[in-house]
């Protein structure tokens, strides 16, 4: 508490812990970045140098020549589509759960928890068969639908909690003012839920942008390939050529970093309101 226990020792300790945290969190990423900038021959020399003696962008050139830009765009498209679908359906469903009592509510709640606990790995193969059956294998739509199905429960969960933290009187007064219930949701509840929407959206983006287990199963052609699959393929093409691999990794990381750094305060705020109150 603020009442002064003024000790430079405490500050020192805090600084020390902070430094440890920063190094532990960032070192692998930093090391990967530095490696991706070293010429191939310098990468495996011993003892390793932390900073590249000569900086080269050759590995980045390699991966862009191998189509990384297309993969990047595919990832953007799939992530955006998944977020849109998840938020769209999730915002509606969460409202249904947050504001109504209805027969089967318990069953729906149990189903949501159940979906969160089904291992993705166990669904891969039948999902592939099913998606193939409706002709969506190797399409972005197929991937978006599957991603959304996996991520909807957490979106609903976050948003329902967020809605419940908003006073219901706001919707009532909107309805008094002549808005339909749906319009009240659209014009009053959703704008107020922005932190919740962003938090939910970020969870979805992290999943959609980073997934490779599902995508590696459902996608096959180069046109549709997302970035993690691209990287996974680099793993096959280049074997242990760490240069291009790490370069691709760095490229895949940047967009998400930017999003997160910009939105992290919403992320916290959106999670704060009620979603952990059970």
């Amino acid at each position: 508490m603020a009442v002064l226990r003024s000790a430079p020792l405490r500050h020192l300790l805090r600084g020390l812990v902070s430094a440890v945290i920063v190094v532990a969190a960032l070192f692998p990423i930093f090391w990967g970045l530095m490696t991706s900038l070293k010429p191939a021959r310098d990468i495996v020399t011993f003892p390793p140098s932390l900073l590249p003696a000569t900086v080269t962008l050759e590995h980045y050139a390699t991966i862009f020549k191998a189509g990384a830009l297309g993969f990047l765009l595919n990832s953007l498209l799939v992530s955006a589509g998944t977020v849109a679908l998840c938020i769209g359906l999730g915002a509606l469903a969460a409202y249904g759960l947050a504001r109504f009592e209805f027969p089967g509510k318990r069953a729906v709640l149990v189903a949501i928890i159940a979906v969160m606990s089904i291992p993705v790995a166990s669904l891969l193969i039948p999902t592939y068969t099913l998606i193939a059956e409706i002709g969506l294998v190797n399409t972005h739509v197929g991937l978006i639908l599957v991603y959304s199905a996996y991520q909807l429960p957490i979106v609903i969960w976050i948003l329902a909690a967020y809605y419940q933290s908003l006073p219901i009187e706001l919707e009532w007064s909107a309805m008094m003012d002549g808005y339909s219930r749906f319009q009240a949701l659209w014009k009053v509840v959703l704008p107020l839920s922005r932190p919740g929407l962003i938090a939910a959206g970020l969870f979805v983006v992290v999943f959609a942008w980073n997934d490779f287990v599902v995508a590696v199963t459902l996608l096959s052609s180069e046109d549709t390939r997302t970035l993690p699959i691209g990287i996974y393929n680099f793993l096959g093409f280049y074997g242990r050529e760490w240069g291009p691999l790490l370069a691709a990794s760095m490229v895949s990381t940047i967009p998400l970093l930017v999003i997160f750094v910009v939105l992290q305060r919403y992320f916290m705020a959106g999670m704060t309101n009620g979603s952990v109150k059970g």
Binding site: S18, I21, A25, L26, F27, P28, I29, W31, T35, F46, P47, P48, L92, A93, G96, L97, F100, F102, V108, A111, V115, S117, P119, V120, A121, S122, L123, I125, P126, T129, L130, L145, S148, A149, Y150, L152, I156, M175, R181, F182, V206, N210, F212, V213, P228, I231, W242, L245, L246, S249, T253, L256, L257, F260, M268, M271, T272, V276, K277, G278
Partner: protein
């Protein structure tokens, strides 16, 4: 109601699209998985019904017990340590100073970068070729361990991967929990004469129960089912020391081309999840008794 007749089923107008999506892409595949698991499915071709034979086959395999134990020990170690680190971070970074906000963002980075990438970065660090491990070994003047080729070290590496990536998730969830505690309660306890430890144990911990439970469940499910860590970091080895149930499903399905058995295994993993969550809930319920006066 203003927008039409009010019925008890009105809520379904909001829920239906989501329910349809879940039914189509989660529950239907699950049903299909169940169907496959009682059939012979070789080389991606549906064969005859063969009852529980697939289950008997996978459960009686030596590597089943191995992967079961690997999954259990990995999940428990990763869960305990990730939770502890995440909790520590949440407490340490609870205040909204600019330094804390920056640190929180930094801690979140391993969580937001692709698991594939993260595991690859760690593999690169742990591999002898990168030179870091031999370098560290040279400092301590010991023979350089081969981390990824030693069963114990490889497991430790996988646990480290879990902590490195997922502590941030635990931190976010627990921070959210901390935020939901009215600050007045902490102030009141302080004025009531409680010290930091007592406030933590008697006020914060009990009030964080829901957040802690949700964090534990989500982490447990994540760790019990994670495929990327073993697939990329350790390849399940050495000596299958890091071959989790999820990796085994993947192998049986995509390397042995036996979808019948893979799906039987998947159903087993599902049951494993359910049992794990029930156990966690039971443990949680039990501890509740201990906190009363």
């Amino acid at each position: 109601m203003m927008d039409g007749q009010r019925t008890p089923f009105q809520a379904y107008r909001y829920l239906l699209p989501a329910l349809v999506l879940e039914a189509g892409f989660v529950f239907a595949p699950l049903a299909l998985s169940l169907f496959y698991s009682v059939h012979r499915v070789r080389y991606y071709q549906l064969g005859d019904f063969n009852g529980v034979q697939n289950y008997l086959d996978v459960l009686s395999h030596r590597l089943f017990l191995n992967s079961f134990l690997v999954t259990c020990s990995f999940s428990l170690m990763a869960l305990a340590l990730t939770f502890a680190v995440g909790f520590g971070l949440a407490l340490f970074l609870n205040r909204d100073t600019s330094g804390s906000i920056l640190l929180r963002t930094i801690v979140l980075l391993p969580y937001v970068i692709a698991m594939l990438v993260g595991s690859m970065l760690l593999k690169w660090i742990f591999s002898t070729d990168a030179g870091l491990v031999p370098l560290a070994a040279a400092w301590f003047n010991i023979t350089s361990p081969t981390i990824l080729a030693d069963p114990d070290y490889a497991m430790a590496a996988m646990v480290a991967n879990g902590i490195w990536r997922d502590s941030a998730f635990a931190m976010v969830m627990l921070l959210a929990g901390l935020r939901s505690i009215p600050p007045n309660l902490i102030l009141a306890a302080r004025i009531d004469g409680a010290g930091s430890f007592m406030i933590f144990r008697r006020i914060m911990l009990p009030l964080l129960r829901p957040a802690i439970l949700i964090t534990l469940i989500r982490l447990l499910l994540h760790f019990a089912n994670v495929l990327t860590f073993p697939l990329i970091l350790t390849g399940g080895g050495p000596n299958n020391a890091t071959e989790t149930l999820a990796l085994r499903i993947f192998r049986i399905g995509f390397e042995d081309f036996d979808l019948g058995k893979a799906n039987a295994m998947a159903i087993v993993l599902c049951l494993f999840n359910i049992v794990a969550v029930i156990l966690l809930l039971a443990v949680f319920r039990k501890t509740r008794g201990g906190q009363s006066l």
